[in-house]
């Protein structure tokens, strides 16, 4: 009786603990065994990839798999859908806990975050120096996002080249054509916009209040950045930035640009026809084309340039992403896969362009006939070869490890300037916020 009571006590103590430990241990073991951490140079002809959009980058991966299988029939690609914010959280957590064995072979990364991750966590990446990828076949400004200390860490994927997309039917009502909006300055754009607003009641542009997207696009179009090449913030005494913010403020105050609070509201202003144009990365065409009733009523041209700023151009970019090979990868296979698909297959880009609107950064792709085909949605214009032409002229943008801090601080400054703060002192404050973050 006594012994059995004691046995029960001991079991009561040990069982739950044992079960709990077994559960934890088992979980860990399973993870390394199965899909989660499928990387590693095990030579089994399989690559695991993290990407986030089934209609876009995941679809592109599946097509790339088919292309690569033609010469490597045993090859399989295991794609895991992971939203971008989770990719960032996972990478940070794995790096911080030094569990790099859980990494996939390849992951997709936002261009804006690329340098931050390489500089903070170099042990997450394998560089591409020994690969067959010819980086001269990509626009310099795009390769710059994933280059740290002259070493390439990423193969550029989607194109963030900025365009002006306009509703030709609305312009016609006001007596204008797309040509009136091509190769113009922002001052001219505001004048035209005020006239369109007066005649049709429709503003031209829209965007998220407090977002730094628009001013930063303007900034890059003049070849300027929030940081210099050494990564020091250049937010104060930055004439291009002051001009960009001033232009933005005049756009909003004239009523030509309307501010909304969320991304969904912004997309709605386009598909509902609240606004008659947008200046945004070329990927916005995907959302524009979802409004089928507007087919044939859109046209694409280059973006306005800043007035009175040295080095101003009609070309800039927003967003975009690149493929990175992890430190846990079957590096040889991963490099060969990327070199023969995203950095070497015109066939791949010809497939994914019409169905997913995935525009190549890889310059040779733009020579194919698919890129030159007239697009009915855009009034029969060959918009894709046009945009690839823009892409080559986009000035580079310095990002560095503190790019998110820089953009956020500038967003705060813009909100304050719109509420009446003095631009120079608001930007000085933004600079000190970034310097504070850097001074850890």
């Amino acid at each position: 009786m006594r012994t059995s009571a004691r046995t029960i006590r001991v079991m009561a103590a040990v069982l739950p603990l044992g079960l709990a430990l077994a559960a934890c241990g088992g979980g860990g073991g399973d993870d390394t065994g199965s899909g989660e951490g499928g990387g590693g140079g095990d030579g089994d002809n399989t690559l695991t990839v993290w990407a986030w959009d089934p209609a876009f980058n995941i679809y592109a991966l599946e097509e790339a798999e088919k292309v690569y299988q033609k010469e490597n029939p045993d090859f399989t690609l295991e794609v895991q859908e992971v939203p971008w914010e989770d990719v960032q959280t996972r990478l940070t957590t794995l790096a911080q806990s030094q569990e790099t064995g859980e990494l996939p072979d390849i992951f997709l990364m936002q261009n804006n975050a690329f340098q931050k991750n390489v500089i903070n966590y170099p042990d997450l990446f394998s560089d591409l120096s020994g690969s067959d990828v010819d980086f001269s076949e990509f626009p310099e400004s795009v390769v710059a996002y994933s280059t740290v200390d002259d070493v390439n860490y990423g193969v550029p994927f989607d194109n963030g080249t900025a365009i002006t997309a306009l509703r030709t039917d609305v312009l016609e009502q006001a007596g204008y054509t797309v040509d009136d909006f091509t190769d113009i300055t922002w001052d001219e754009f505001i004048t035209l916009g005020e006239d369109v607003l007066a005649k049709t009641g429709q503003p031209l542009l829209s965007g998220q209040a407090g977002s730094s997207d628009m001013p930063v696009m303007m900034l890059q179009s003049a070849g300027a950045s929030l940081f210099d090449e050494e990564g020091n913030p250049t937010i104060v005494d930055n004439d291009a930035l002051l001009a960009a913010i001033d232009t933005y403020q005049r756009l909003v105050e004239s009523g030509v640009y309307i501010e909304v609070n969320t991304w969904d509201e912004f997309i709605n202003t386009l598909v509902n026809g609240t606004v008659a144009a947008t200046v945004q990365g070329v990927w916005i065409l995907g959302s524009i084309q979802s409004a089928e009733d507007q087919a044939g009523k859109w046209a694409v041209t280059n973006v306005p340039m800043l007035d009175g700023v040295e080095g101003a151009t009609h070309y800039t970019a927003n967003g975009g992403s690149s493929w990175a090979i992890s430190s846990n990868a079957d590096v040889e296979l991963a490099q060969d896969f990327l070199a023969k698909t995203f950095a070497g297959s015109a066939e791949l880009y010809d497939t994914i362009l019409p169905t997913a609107g995935a525009l190549a950064n890889w310059i040779p792709a733009s020579e194919s006939d698919v890129y030159g085909e007239p697009q009915e949605f855009f009034g029969g214009d060959a918009v894709y070869s046009k945009v690839v032409g823009f892409a080559e002229q986009v000035p580079s943008n310095n990002t560095g490890a503190y790019y998110y801090e820089g953009r956020d601080a500038v967003s705060v400054a813009i909100t304050n300037i719109m509420n009446g703060a003095d631009p120079e002192s608001a930007l000085a404050e933004a600079q000190s916020t970034v310097e504070f973050a850097m001074g850890s």
């Binding site: 006590r9 603990l17 850097m438 850890s440």
Partner: protein, 324 residues
């Protein structure tokens, strides 16, 4: 430790059922002492697994975070700061941290008392024995607590959009001429956030009060009424004092919850405009995962939250708990 167990087991049915009565010893002391020691040992054995897990999964990371908060560096290349407390002194110069701390306290001071008073009043109304469809009302008020934090935040964001439901309703009824930019102005953005919190959490706290009200003897309230007290006075002087332990519990839980507020700030207002609705926990997330990661500094921020929560809990215990 073992005394209540022993008492409960030995109290004979039909005996005086008042809790806490120590039964008369049935046997000589040494024998009880051994029995009690065995029972005590049993209790500890049952506690052991949970305690070990808590130590390992909760306290050990807290100690690690404390060590981390004294370190600085880039990514994983961390080293001890010079001087050790530099992450903490750095907080004093961080304007964003000060702003988020101020925002969080604003939510705390406005939302927690308002919510607890509303919960108390609602619980009292729903405890009325003559009320019809009682469970329907209770369910309706409690239901928001079953909604996911992010999903309700997104619904609120849609409702308070410039062309959202709230603006449409207000315009339709003629209260406003042009849409209010709810999430675009500091004051209204904070208001919407507090409104969301009230909607989400009032029912949750109400359930605690309802449960506590069941333990209150109705005769105490009836006695007060017979003595001529109005309903309000009976509520304030008879019911509320008896709910005091529960009020204390909900106050501490709500304070703790509000100081660690994240989802609403992240999903509903995204911290905007210009960070004026961002909470400390949201800032903590930004420092760790969105910005160039600075885990030493982030740990220091989390320790400041811990210290504030602990300090406020101690104050509330001192002020609220007059039991002897």
């Amino acid at each position: 430790m073992a005394r209540p167990t022993a008492t409960a087991q030995r109290s004979v049915p039909g005996d005086a059922p008042v809790a806490g009565t120590v039964p008369a010893p049935l046997a000589p002391r040494p024998k009880i002492s051994r029995l009690e020691r065995r029972k005590s040992l049993t209790g500890w054995v049952f506690l052991l697994p949970a305690s070990l897990l808590i130590l390992w999964l909760s306290f050990w990371p807290m100690i690690q975070a404390a060590i981390l908060s004294l370190q600085t560096g880039r990514g994983t290349r961390l080293s001890f700061a010079e001087p050790l407390w530099s992450n903490y002194t750095r907080l004093l110069e961080d304007e964003t941290f000060k702003l988020t701390l101020q925002n969080t306290f604003l939510y705390l001071i406005i939302q927690v008392p308002l919510m607890l008073i509303m919960a108390l009043v609602l619980a009292n109304l729903l405890n009325n024995p003559n009320l019809r469809y009682k469970s329907l009302w209770r369910t309706a008020i409690f239901l928001p607590s079953a909604v996911g934090l992010v999903s309700y935040a997104l619904v609120f964001r849609t409702m308070f959009a410039n062309d959202g439901l709230v603006n449409d309703l207000l315009q339709g009824m003629g209260f406003i001429d042009s849409p209010v930019n709810w999430l675009g102005e500091t004051g209204t953005a904070r208001f919407v956030l507090v409104l969301g919190l009230l909607w989400r959490w009032t029912g949750y706290n109400m359930i605690f009060y309802l449960a506590a009200l069941q333990t209150i003897d109705r005769s105490t309230i009836e006695a007060a009424k017979i003595d001529g007290a109005s309903s309000a006075k009976a509520f304030w002087y008879v019911t509320v004092p008896q709910l005091k332990p529960m009020i204390l519990l909900t106050a501490i839980m709500s304070t703790n919850g509000t100081l660690q507020l994240f989802d609403e700030s992240y999903a509903l207002t995204a911290g905007g405009p210009a960070n004026t609705s961002m909470t400390i926990s949201h800032y903590l997330y930004m420092v760790s995962f969105r910005n160039s990661p600075n885990f030493g500094y982030a740990s220091a921020i989390s320790y400041v939250i811990l210290i504030i929560v602990a300090a406020l809990a101690v104050v509330q215990l001192k002020v609220g708990d007059k039991r002897d």
